[in-house]
């Protein structure tokens, strides 16, 4: 039997492999080389050692299988921040853009949810703050101890989720992870109207996607809109019941500022955020993020009036003019 010719094999296997190698170079390696050189955007900084450790925890536990870190230039993504820019990813190796949003995008979570206390409670058991959440509990990133050692952060869990006996304190891994989450903050783009300081009410109105489809302005529609906006922006801390979480987030139900005739404190809290507030004689050490840049005056009115008319509250309704006036005063 004659030996088969080798050249046919060389042509098919070798030829196709050569073609593929060229394509891999053109479509895989060369774009990689070019894009790896993307310079960091203004204000984009490398992670600190602790934050980098936190990213390792994030990766080890596969957070990015459910959470993306890419904001698309689409209306529905505006709720997560401004569209991601190439310079945002200069120090983001490994890239954690992700491919699925079983949970929300985390690109800007450090700004959207700056409260470390909330992050700890949520990591320990997400359902303690978001009842409908299907995120796994990461309680093995925490220790249960009889009494918290000096200087340790105490995780103020609602009774239903708290261990008994003992108190919950984060491990170093949890501290690092929350430090990483806090570092996920978008920097303002140089020539953009999206950053908080320069946003005019009109622009902010188009820049927010937490806005629900705006139906004709009637009271009933306002209430529906207010409820949806509250669910999207506020209930993670203040809860759908308006009762907050004891020791962590203040109640809005029966809250003096919410029921006050002068709405200035209430409006300013939404526009500019709050730090270390005293509600009903209890001081809450956490901080509430400002929503002035994310939400339009109309949205803020809808939320405030929803809060002022729910859970037995009887605050007088506010108007867009009042919100605009507080906005004009500045922080």
């Amino acid at each position: 039997m004659s030996k088969p010719p080798v050249n046919k094999l060389v042509l098919i296997a070798g030829g196709s492999t050569l073609v593929y190698a060229v394509l891999a170079l053109l479509m895989g390696i060369l774009p990689g080389i070019e894009l790896s050189r993307t310079p960091p955007g203004a204000g984009v900084e490398p992670l600190t050692a602790l934050q980098a450790e936190g990213r390792d925890v994030y990766v080890a536990n596969g957070c990015s299988y459910c959470h993306t870190q890419q904001v698309r230039p689409l209306d529905q993504d505006k709720v997560f921040g401004r569209p991601s820019a190439p310079g945002d990813f200069a120090y983001a190796t490994p890239e954690l853009l992700g491919s699925e949003r079983t949970g929300p995008d985390l690109t800007n979570i450090g700004a959207r949810q700056p409260s470390a206390v909330w992050q700890f409670i949520h990591l320990y058991n997400p359902r303690a703050v978001v009842p409908e959440s299907i995120m796994p509990a990461f309680d093995w990133l925490f220790d249960v101890v009889a009494t918290a050692p000096a200087g340790a952060t105490l995780v103020p869990l609602p009774d239903k989720f708290a261990p008994s006996p003992g108190v919950v304190v984060p491990t170093h891994q949890a501290e690092a992870l929350v430090a990483y989450l806090a570092s996920l903050k978008q920097t303002p783009l140089p020539a953009s109207g999206h950053d908080g300081q320069t946003a005019k009410p009109g622009i902010a109105a188009t820049a927010t996607a937490a806005t629900v489809d705006s139906p004709p302005d009637t009271d009933a529609n306002d209430a529906v809109k207010g409820k949806a906006l509250f669910a999207a922006n506020c209930s993670a801390c203040h809860q759908a019941s308006g009762e907050g979480l004891p020791g962590a987030f203040p109640p809005l139900k029966g809250n003096a500022a919410v029921n006050a005739a002068d709405p200035a404190t209430h409006i300013r809290a939404l526009l500019y955020g709050v730090q270390g507030v005293n509600v009903g004689g209890v001081v809450y050490p956490g901080s509430m993020p400002p929503f002035g840049a994310m939400l339009s005056d109309a949205d803020i009115v809808a939320i405030i009036n929803y809060e002022r008319s729910s859970w037995g509250n009887h605050g007088t309704p506010v108007t867009a003019a009042a919100v605009a006036a507080e906005r004009a005063k500045g922080k």
Partner: protein, 473 residues
């Protein structure tokens, strides 16, 4: 005349050559089946977690560690091992020769399995190489997988080089191409120098699609081109069309990867190029599918009498529908709704399951009994087929509808949690479909047992017409 020639050359093969080939094919199939059982048991657990997030609690069972274990064990345990085992059989038989080296085949088997075990353990302990889809195993473990690929490529090349025919049968084009190209894919994925920040994003887009399309697709198509003519005892409809699909697939596929990152900060032209070539992919996909379907034309009646043929038929339809769906998903207007939703998960199961896995089953059921002389029962084949088909139907349809609901919730500006709540019924159906698929895999495992360790001559009489399949006309 051709048959006579091949019968003649088959006499050059000793019985021990046949036994070696059969035991290699059987061993790859058996370990692959174990990986299938493991990977899909994990998959079912994951499916349940969407409805009951506290079910299966603690670090080692947390969703984010099991999710890459499921995908990697499916890809590199189940599909890779099963395809390579079948490829050895196809390459040796269609070349009318014996396997070049049984020893290399055993080394490859060991390396593939060592990599899969090590990768699984590493992921469960939290050693994940950056959550980068399909390349999560720490890179030293991926080097073991690469070594297995190189060994396999060498063995297959040398086997085809020994062929007793002038022509290299089409199946071997796809098989050899698949193993060789995938070596390149694996190397591109591992080297770090061009993978920083956005550079890594572009490599991820390239990698995750090429790992699928230059590995599973060509090997599965190679099996179609051999098993289909074998089962039908008639040549493939058009050899030339198969060659045309081979080259177009090779040129178009590597360019479409960036469609996984539409609307991302990757350069807009790169995304647009990916969309254009996603449309171009219709050429090899429809060409290939038409070739298989036209081969079956006029023989549809035989479908009812042959489960291997039914599996292959579903695999071909899965290839056609899944790939066409992939093209549609690449359009910006549709991505706007479906991207980042569960629709994508439905798509990946339609392709990896409806196409690749059904192709493997068709190949194994058609060919393994020829190699071992042992056949599974009709009942076993029927149970497996219908549970897998109905289960995957439920799974894919539930996630396609649910993913659309999710995407529309976002577009309508609903609070994010709304999309989580709205998915709940579809998550339940995913669990139902997944459970049914898993039960089907248990039956498959039983069938594999029958084909490898059962009593000889269990099944129906085998009709083997050597030669017709290999040479075509």
């Amino acid at each position: 005349m051709m048959s006579a020639a091949i019968v003649a050359r088959r006499t050059n093969l000793s019985e021990s050559d046949d036994r070696v080939l059969a035991s290699v094919f059987a061993a790859y199939t058996v370990t692959a089946t174990l990986w299938l059982l493991f990977a899909t048991a994990v998959g079912v657990l994951l499916a349940y977690k969407f409805g009951a997030p506290d079910f299966g609690h603690g670090a080692w069972l947390t969703f984010g560690r099991l999710r890459p274990i499921h995908t990697n064990a499916t890809f590199y345990g189940w599909a890779s091992l099963a395809l390579v085992g079948t490829a050895y059989y196809v390459a040796a038989r269609s070349s009318g020769t014996r396997l070049y080296s049984a020893r290399l085949a055993w080394v490859g088997l060991a390396l593939f399995n060592v990599a899969a075990v090590a990768g699984t353990v590493a992921l469960d302990l939290g050693y994940n190489d950056g959550n980068l889809e399909y390349r999560e195993w720490p890179w030293p473990i991926r080097l073991i997988f690469l070594a297995a690929l190189v060994v396999t490529a060498w063995n297959l090349l040398a086997t085809v080089a020994r062929r007793s025919t002038q022509e290299i049968y089409l199946s071997n084009w796809y098989i050899l191409g698949g193993v060789l190209w995938t070596c390149i894919v694996a190397i591109v994925a591992i080297l770090p120098w061009y993978q920083y920040g956005l550079g890594q994003v572009s490599v991820s887009g390239f990698y995750m699609h090429n790992a699928v399309g230059m590995w599973f697709t060509p090997l599965a198509l190679g099996i179609f081109y051999y098993a289909l003519p074998k089962v039908l005892s008639r040549p493939i409809y058009s050899y030339a069309l198969g060659v045309f699909a081979f080259w177009t697939n090779l040129v178009f596929y590597p360019i479409i990867g960036a469609h996984h990152f539409l609307f991302s900060p990757l350069p807009w032209w790169l995304q647009t190029l990916a969309i254009v070539f996603s449309v171009a992919m219709l050429v090899p996909v429809w060409g290939g599918s038409a070739n298989f379907l036209l081969t079956m034309r006029g023989h549809m009646r035989e479908l009812a009498h042959s489960y291997p043929l039914m599996f292959i038929f579903v695999g071909v339809v899965g290839y056609l529908v899944g790939s066409t769906q992939g093209t549609l998903e690449a359009f910006r207007s549709l991505q706007e709704v479906w991207h980042l939703t569960n629709f994508t998960v439905g798509h990946s199961h339609l392709t990896m399951y409806g196409f690749v896995t059904f192709a493997i089953w068709g190949g194994v059921y058609a060919l393994l009994p020829l190699a071992t002389g042992k056949a599974p029962s009709q009942v076993g084949l029927g149970l497996h087929f219908w549970m897998a088909l109905v289960g995957s139907f439920i799974y894919v349809i539930a996630l396609s509808i649910g993913g659309t609901v999710q995407g529309l919730d976002w577009i309508h500006g609903q609070p994010f949690i709304r999309s989580v709540i709205d998915m709940q019924p579809y998550y339940v159906w995913r669990g139902v479909g997944g459970s049914l698929m898993f039960l089907g895999h248990i039956v498959f495992a039983w069938n594999v047992w029958c084909m490898t360790h059962g009593r000889a001559g269990d099944g129906k009489p085998r009709v083997v017409l050597p030669g017709v399949a290999e040479t075509g006309t």
